[in-house]
Symmetry: C2
Subunit: 191 residues, 2 copies
Amino acid sequence: MTEPKPLRADARRNRARVLDAAEVVFAAKGTSATTEEVAREAGVGVGTLFRHFPTKEALLEAVLFDRVRRFADEAELVAAADKPGEVFYTFLTSWVEMSSAKNAYGDALAAAGVEIPKPPSIAGIRVLETLATVLSRAQDAGAVRKDISVDELIPVIIGASRAAEHVGGDTELRDRTISVMLDSLRPRVGS
Amino acid sequence: MTEPKPLRADARRNRARVLDAAEVVFAAKGTSATTEEVAREAGVGVGTLFRHFPTKEALLEAVLFDRVRRFADEAELVAAADKPGEVFYTFLTSWVEMSSAKNAYGDALAAAGVEIPKPPSIAGIRVLETLATVLSRAQDAGAVRKDISVDELIPVIIGASRAAEHVGGDTELRDRTISVMLDSLRPRVGS
DNA sequence: TCTCACGTGGACCGCGGGGTCCGCATCACT
DNA sequence: AGTGATGCGGACCCCGCGGTCCACGTGAGA
């Protein structure tokens, strides 16, 4: 059912432009940025924007989706490397850095009453699987305490993102903060 | 200058009502809740609300302020106790739990472009001083790693709050998460 | 109880932003 | 090049929300 409909060349171009612009604008000015602003950044009329994304919410979703997807790809590559411990912390750090921005989108959706679990499933699940893999490998290698599950890991990541977000411009302090927070995952003396 | 102006009895009552209502409503439905909603909850007209708080922002500020002040009082009591390590973690835990809600207000203000440092100074400074005291005492007692400063502690707290916030209803998971995150502050093997 | 200043409530206003609409441009197939 | 279909743009509509205003109620000093 619902055949994909081939879509004209310029249309595809514009869609991509809008998506990129949205990512930039929302990252810079928060999700409360105006649809018109996004359209301007994309060099496109609002009408065009709404043609591709019937609602602002849908646009937010699309951006979020896109990020997660791209990140999942990267993550799979990293997961394939050896040095499980190193991989784990690198992975988390980059996730944290990425989601400093991403969380805002999630929030916006949540605030708008959208059921988050629904859309990110396809891309999201893959990330979670990857995360679980990386985690258990790191645990086997003794780089991460054993009494941590993915369920607990996720809040920690989110928390770290928020902390990073809060610190803002001061990158030196931010790095230190992230590092401190991720330290909570390292094995303790008696474990 | 600007003498306090004694303010009528019912006026004081209404002001308090609005403040309480605001706290409840904003906590429940987020800071995007409507001024009218707050007014209804307070059993008051919007006019009254705006008489006491000339702007929604001002109301947010007032609520935030109030919370911080109350918390600072509590904190001072706790800080006076002995057992520095225990105090430290108790303190942080309760702070984290409290600020799961409070952060939202801070965010809202930040988003609105209000200079945060300005208003919370009076109440805020006191908390920071208390925090510094508690921290250094706990460090002296060996309950907290020495290479942590208040500057880093704050993001960690915020992060933990956010994580807690994210977990939401599942209190068991939330407690575990907070505990894991605060573990990052405990002294490490070689320190 | 009389009085009036202080406080109240909610109808009302203006604006900002999401979403629509339609005349015009552009694409793509011949 | 000709021509229909597919997109484009941005003026426009609508409504939700912060904030105002003023006729009315009510507290408090005489």
